[in-house]
């Protein structure tokens, strides 16, 4: 189960990465292709759908790696039992909200499917297809949060909490790998 879930987050993360490369490909093809009269029909739409898919599919992976930011000033001061309780509260609130969000994202996608909504672009693509990445990513995030909640409730250290870097080089690596500012 543990291995299965971790793989699930990781592969969804890889899929998000693949969408990034795809956005790059689409934009380059359109930019170069314009000179030769080549075009991707609704290329802009595809790029924006890839964007949404990328942003949400990678969430669970990003969360587990501890790269979704929060204001850590208070919580990082607390230690021991108190810290544990605070983490549970933060996780509880986040899980509840994500489940709520997730429910509505899934029903939005299901409605698009049920009512056969079409994209208003050059190509009429059924909207539920691009929306799958969005609600799928949120479902994965909700699973990751529940998983994390159980993990911390059992008394473990949260996986999103990183060990302090052991060397300056490692720190620099981490900064480069997504240091917000």
């Amino acid at each position: 189960m543990r291995i299965f879930l971790d793989r699930l987050y990781l592969y969804a993360g890889y899929a998000a990465g693949a969408f990034l490369v795809l956005i790059f490909g689409i934009m380059m093809f359109m930019s170069v292709g314009r000179q030769f009269g080549l075009n991707i029909p609704a290329g802009d739409d595809f790029a924006s759908w890839c964007m949404a898919a990328m942003a949400f599919l990678g969430l669970a992976h990003t969360f587990k790696r501890g790269e979704i930011i929060r204001v850590g000033m208070l919580i990082e001061r607390a230690t021991g039992r108190k810290r544990w309780a605070l983490e549970i509260i933060a996780l509880g609130i986040s899980t509840a909200f994500t489940l709520y969000f997730c429910w509505y994202a899934v029903s939005m996608t299901y409605d698009s499917y049920r009512f056969n909504d079409m994209a208003q672009g050059v190509l009429s693509v059924p909207l539920w297809i691009p929306q799958l990445g969005y609600c799928g990513g949120l479902v994965l995030l909700a699973i990751a949060l529940i998983d994390e909640m159980i993990h911390v409730l059992k008394g473990n250290k949260p996986t999103y909490e990183k060990e302090p870097p052991s060397s300056p080089d490692e720190f620099v690596e981490r900064i480069a790998a997504g240091g917000g500012g």
Binding site: M27, S48, G181
Partner: protein, 438 residues
């Protein structure tokens, strides 16, 4: 539906926001919950459906596709040997200036800033080589740390810039125009920094070691040739932006191509670095996108409450001049900047600040640059300043010592804010050149 006074409602929401964020809930979730409560208190529209659709339409955005591409470009370049080449290529040319190699920090960061959109990455990349080299030669530690902390923040002001994309998307203005607006203020900050270093070293001649042995012109040139591709990439991106050759998203795609080419040319592009750069860029994008999604929903929710319109009314009633409003906002942003990171600061405040500045008649492009300079300050103010963390780790000194060293540069950023407030043309001339106002 309940009837609260607008003021009470705003105070309740503000207090709740502070509370929820301080519990350590992830920022995007906190934003979403605040939006949720605002809507539950004031409207009877289906809250969950608004949540799902507003986040979807905010994230399936073609303009936003520039964001991951610019992030990726920076990630690729971070993995090249650019930083070593930067030091070796710049050092011979800056020996004659008072302050000598300290200027490498400023100019090096300025150049790297023009290919990277992140402050911490700029600071770390240049610092990796410059800090040990400067220490070896016996430069004063405070000035080298301080200048590095300050110059690293140029990564945010000189395009491409991640927070600028975030601002442009939340304020619904053109990414390209905000980018263009950043170039000259970036140069202004470089001039201020270098000017300060010159003045400082004239006053403290004992703290600047003698120059390195002179090199022949030809050798200098040879040391710099490796920087040429990087400079070409910057010029390419710059002209593509100015002459409207490409949209911001296309420009970003070309930037990625250029960065890949540069990495390949310098021999650092392999399967591992490529893969790592993609995954790092993906994670950073996901983090920012989740915050943007939360913000999009809060903005939609706030519109239902009537708070933004109320605030605009209030500003109108106060007869605030744009200058006074800018001053008040500066104070607020400097305080906020000490407590939270730059991107959250932009996103958290825009809902409230945007209607105010529109009412006061402040140009949104100008405000973007103004805001980004405050985000730069946030990077070097304790206790939460990202560049301080970077340098603390690289130099082994504590946050407050680094912050003290960076303090003069913080003041120089305030000076820059005053200058662009007095002379808004510095910000607006380039965007108006490329997009003549009708």
């Amino acid at each position: 539906m309940h009837d609260f006074g607008l003021l009470n409602l705003s105070l309740i929401l503000l207090a709740f926001m502070v509370f929820i964020l301080s519990t350590g809930v992830w920022i995007a979730v906190g934003l979403g919950i605040v939006g949720l409560i605002a809507m539950l208190l004031t409207t009877s529209v289906p809250v969950g459906a608004v949540l799902a659709t507003s986040v979807w339409s905010a994230s399936a955005s073609w303009t936003l596709a520039a964001l991951p591409l610019f992030i990726w470009m920076g990630e690729i370049l971070f993995r090249t040997r650019l930083s070593e080449e930067m030091f070796r290529g710049l050092a011979p040319w800056l020996q004659w200036l008072p302050g000598r190699l300290v200027h490498v920090n400023v100019i090096g960061c300025g150049i790297f800033a023009a290919v990277s959109g992140s402050s911490a990455a700029t600071c770390a990349t240049i610092g990796k080589i410059a800090l040990p080299e400067l220490e070896k030669r016996g430069y004063d530690k405070d000035i080298s740390l301080g200048s590095l902390a300050g110059s690293g923040t140029l990564g945010l002001l000189i395009p491409p810039s991640i927070p600028m994309v975030v601002y442009a998307v939340t304020a619904n203005v053109s990414v390209l125009q905000v980018f263009l607006a950043g170039f000259l203020p970036g140069l202004l900050v470089i001039v201020l920094y270098s000017g300060y270093i010159i003045g400082w070293s004239l006053l403290n001649p004992s703290k600047i070691p003698p120059r390195d042995p002179p090199m022949s012109f030809r050798k200098k040139l040879a040391a710099s040739t490796k920087l040429i591709p990087c400079l070409l990439l910057i010029l390419g991106v710059f002209f593509a932006l100015v002459f409207g050759f490409a949209t911001a998203t296309e420009c970003a795609a070309w930037g990625v191509s250029g960065a890949l080419l540069l990495a390949w040319w310098s021999g650092t592009l392999n399967r591992k670095t490529f893969f790592e750069s993609v995954m790092s860029a993906t994670r950073l994008t996901c983090m920012i996108m989740l915050i943007l999604g939360g913000a999009a929903y809060t903005t939609a929710a706030m519109a239902y409450t009537g708070i933004p319109a109320g605030l605009a009314e209030w500003v109108k009633g106060q007869h605030l001049t744009p200058g006074m409003l800018a001053l008040y906002l500066s104070i607020m942003y400097i305080i906020l900047g000490c407590l939270i990171d730059g991107i959250s600061m932009i996103v958290l405040t825009m809902v409230i600040v945007l209607p105010m500045i529109q009412q006061a008649g402040i140009d949104l492009i100008w405000f973007g640059v103004y805001l980004i300079i405050h985000v730069e300050m946030a990077q070097i103010t304790p206790p939460v300043g990202f560049n301080l963390f970077v340098l603390q780790n690289m130099s082994g000194r504590d946050t407050f010592a680094v912050a003290r060293a960076a303090f003069p540069f913080f003041l120089l950023l305030i000076a820059a804010v005053f200058i662009i407030t007095e002379f808004p043309q510095i910000v607006l001339v380039l965007p108006h050149m490329a997009f003549p106002p009708s």
